[in-house]
Amino acid sequence: MTARFDCAVVGAGVMGCATALFLARGGMRVALLDRGGICREASGVNAGTLTMQMTRAALIPYALRAHEMWLTMPQWCAGGDVLATACPGLSVAFTDGEAAMLEERARIRRAAGAPIEMIDGRAAQAIEPGLADGVKLAGHCPIDGFTSAYLTGRAFRPALLEAGVTLLEDTPVRGVDERFTLDTAAGAIAARRLVLAGGAWLEDMAAWVGIRLPIKVLVNQLVVTERMAPVMRTVLGVASGLLSLKQYANGTVLIGGGWQGIGDRARGGVSVRPENFLGNVRLAAHTVPALREARVVRSWLGLEAETADALPAIGPIPGVEDAWIIGSVHSGYTSGPYMGRLLAQAVLGQEPDLPLFPIDRLLNERSNAA
């Protein structure tokens, strides 16, 4: 057995990586474990959207700070780069019903700190010439943008190693005993503290320490086009939040929005649902008509975790001293690096800059009494 680590972080997605990085920089000896490769699940296959207009109101203050972190990533992540790009964001309404929804949601997000202003269709087209006619109302947020999410693992890796984190990829954890000795494929790993950062697999991990934390799994579909001439220059969504559209510098257009495919924790992302594939690309082509000229080259799936109240699970694990949890952040990639930094502050015994999201509210007292 190797010498005891100050902290073992299980799950090398964006939350686990950020937590491990800031713990190590805070002076701890950290092991970061993943059953697969670094950021190969949701953190590497999501749409990379840095939008406020799909973020839950309660998370806006966090997302704003995380937006800043993504845009400056090379400075705090040892040069690691996800090609973060800042651009305006538009959320549009094509019907009166959507306009009412948009206005209501923008008002709530504005109150939470997102600088969203309401503009008409003509003004929206001035910001986004690729936008279709027929927009009744648009929410315009100057703070938006996107990353190339597939670069996330490569961006974090050198910084983690430089900070002294022991990164153990392809090392599934089978269980944890009460003294935080991890039973892993690479042998026993002993740690004084434990952070569970397992995304859609958090429910299984929480069971290791005797906690029943129901986590719903969303199976989000994404579609990407071939490279094409510029057709848009903003991050575009619709009032319902079911569209996320952006064109990368290389010309590819990424089409998402949380349409659901088939998959589960055991099998991962299994298959795209053809009817949802069609609905998603129709919504995209309706919003940016030039996309009709595109060719679709690939679709894929990523598993997102959601708690019962769709708010994050970030904080100490009740009844298990020195065990912590982080995940289930709605639009979690957007807020991820900041959430990891906050949890690291708490684990290091500091006061977090913003409040955590303790999971006591999510636990059924009876089933967790034992």
Partner: protein, 471 residues
Amino acid sequence: MSFDIAVLGGGPAGMAAATTAAVGGARVVLLEESPAPGGQVHRAPPPDFVGKPDADRREGDRLRAALAASGADVRTGCRVWGLGGGPLGPAGEAAGPFALSALGADGVPFAVLARALILCCGTHERVIPFPGWTLPGVIGLAAATILLKAQGVLPGRRVVVAGAGPLLYAVAAKVLAGGGEVVAVADAASRGEWIAALPALAARPDLLARGTAWRAGLLARRVPVLQGSQVAAAEGDGVLARVRVLAGGAECILEADALCVGHGLVPATEATRTYRARHAHRPEDGGWVPVLDDRQRTSVPLLYAAGDGAGVRGAAAAPAAGRVAALAALDDLGLPGERPASGTAALGRARRAGAAMARMMALRPSLVAAIPPETIVCRCEGVARAAIEDAAADGAATVNQLKHFTRCGMGPCQGRMCGEAAAAILAAARGVPVAEVGFATGRIPLRPVPMEAILGEFDYGDIPVPAPAPI
């Protein structure tokens, strides 16, 4: 449209599978991308072309006639892009029929449901990169075959033919027959390799005789055949002007306006990967292949694979494998009907000859090792060998991770062209066997699909937008 059995791909395996299944009483659909069934070897020329049919054409015509008489619903000119159903359902639900989405020859989308699916998807060509391989004027051996067979078009006037396997000599012979000049044939296989293959080839005297005739034709025209050689570089100012070939330790420079080069064939496993069937890495079969039982069944119930897509054994062995798959599907579906004998002795001989050729066409690690650092490997995304090795040094351990780190294989071809070389470079950089770096996850679409074609007519209000997330 609902069928008992769908056959994807109308080469020799697919034609035989569809014919056998339909004659056996199943409702069968065959889906083929080309304007006519036939595949690469038995490719039909355009309807207006006149010309004396060769042995391949006659065998193809025979398979086509049997297919036409079988009662199978044959859809040509269609592009299958979507795969679903079968094992790809939600957890806890019984497997449903296989569901294929396609664009018809008329551009109109259609869907096919089938209780069983036989994949006869053939191969794609392996071209191991070398400096200049992306220059105009450099084309694949299989591409040259298509030009010559389907259109009677020469790839150039002064042609260098290079690479490995029997296609080399077939292409050289066809270029000569078409009035072109073959500057040289640069064969990666040594004379010794060909001699070692002779006993297996003798099992198919017809093929051996044809190969011998091709070689004799080259000899008569004094075409140099450079055994054990490889292309060092293709050069020219924006277009191919000369080919540098390394042969026997010396380099020769060949003036040419076309280089037809291919290093073998890679089974097309997009569909079996998408259906998450089990695969094994078998270099002698062409690389990653679906794991099959002795009746062509994959690890996924009611999903079968036959022909070169299931492991390279050549066109002669393909029809028999297609028949075996169809008979297994008929049995597994419990369909009554006649069961023609499947001729296993002939299959054995054809497979033995095919296996000898497949060994010659297997990936040659020395060619991968020779790729210079700055040479592009993934031409869709412009990823050079050095970038792949940098990614390996940065911790990319698998092909899927390499994609994330470099975009290698993320372009329009989705790794069909570069995947194998990239995997070999990654494995070499890591010092592990190539099987250990895995293969790219299979996802739809199977081929790039025009958005306009799949969108159809719709009103905004008809888009079934799900309920929004909580605010």
